[in-house]
């Protein structure tokens, strides 16, 4: 799993690649959540994300709660397998997926 952060003013693009599982989710959290300071628009680019398990959903939930207080969060370019996880768990109801 790798997270590439690209910050431009109040906009942060986080490009996530590989697997978010029980082993990599703590690293995902450690890299993403502290970077949200001062961010108004968070874009999670999931083009190269192979899959996300429930350990990763917890981090997405934390990020969504932080961004709900200070701006917007958008998930982009999800593979169908990744979208399906958000759909089955009902996360699509409170996430913005483009």
């Amino acid at each position: 799993m790798e997270v590439l952060l690209n910050k431009d003013g109040g906009t942060l693009v986080a490009s996530i690649s590989g697997r978010i599982n029980t082993a990599t989710a703590p690293q995902f959290e450690k890299e993403l959540i502290p970077a949200l300071d001062g961010v108004e628009e968070l874009i999670l680019d999931m083009t190269d994300l192979l899959y996300i398990s429930s350990a990763g959903l917890r981090v997405i939930l934390t990020a969504q709660k932080v961004m709900a207080r200070q701006g917007n969060m958008v998930l982009r370019n999800l593979k169908p397998e990744v979208y399906e996880v958000f759909e089955m768990t009902g996360f699509v109801d409170f996430l913005t997926i483009e």
């Binding site: 599982n21 996300i52 398990s53 429930s54 350990a55 959903l57 969504q64 593979k79 169908p80 768990t89």
Partner: protein, 134 residues
């Protein structure tokens, strides 16, 4: 084929590689493969966190093709405390963001995506069997 490894979360990576290489040889679809990878992560992490009560222990994973059903059967065995991960109610997936917790979502995902999911305690082992169409 079997793989026995120490039940610690870092080992989900070699475990996933081990299972994926066999799925690829069976001609498994990418969609089924990613669902199986998620199921492995949820089931193996449960074992890492709960089976040995903080002590170290092992898990054995075996992968078997079921040609007549065009499916794969994966068995995950541990030698720890008897624990049935399926004996919980499904989480409420209609709750809003502020009421949400992650507890139970992993096993829920496994139930939704696998064709069959069984637990038994047999010969001093927790045995979880999943079947998934390739």
């Amino acid at each position: 084929m079997d793989l026995t490894i120490e039940a610690k979360v870092e080992n989900i990576e070699p475990l996933t590689d081990f299972v994926n290489s066999q799925l690829e040889a069976m001609g498994c679809s990418l969609r089924a493969q990613s669902q199986i990878d998620i199921a492995l992560d949820e089931l193996f992490s449960n074992i890492c966190h709960y089976a040995y009560g903080g002590k170290t222990g092992h898990a054995t994973v075996s992968v078997e093709e079921l040609p007549e059903e065009n499916a794969v059967q994966i068995t995950i065995k541990d030698y720890g405390i008897p624990f049935d991960p399926l004996a919980h109610d499904d989480p409420d997936v209609s709750l809003g963001i502020h009421e949400r917790s992650i507890g139970g979502l992993g096993i829920f995902l496994v139930k939704k995506t696998m064709n069959d999911l069984r637990y038994e305690y047999r010969d001093g082992c927790n045995v979880i069997t999943v079947v998934k169409t390739l």
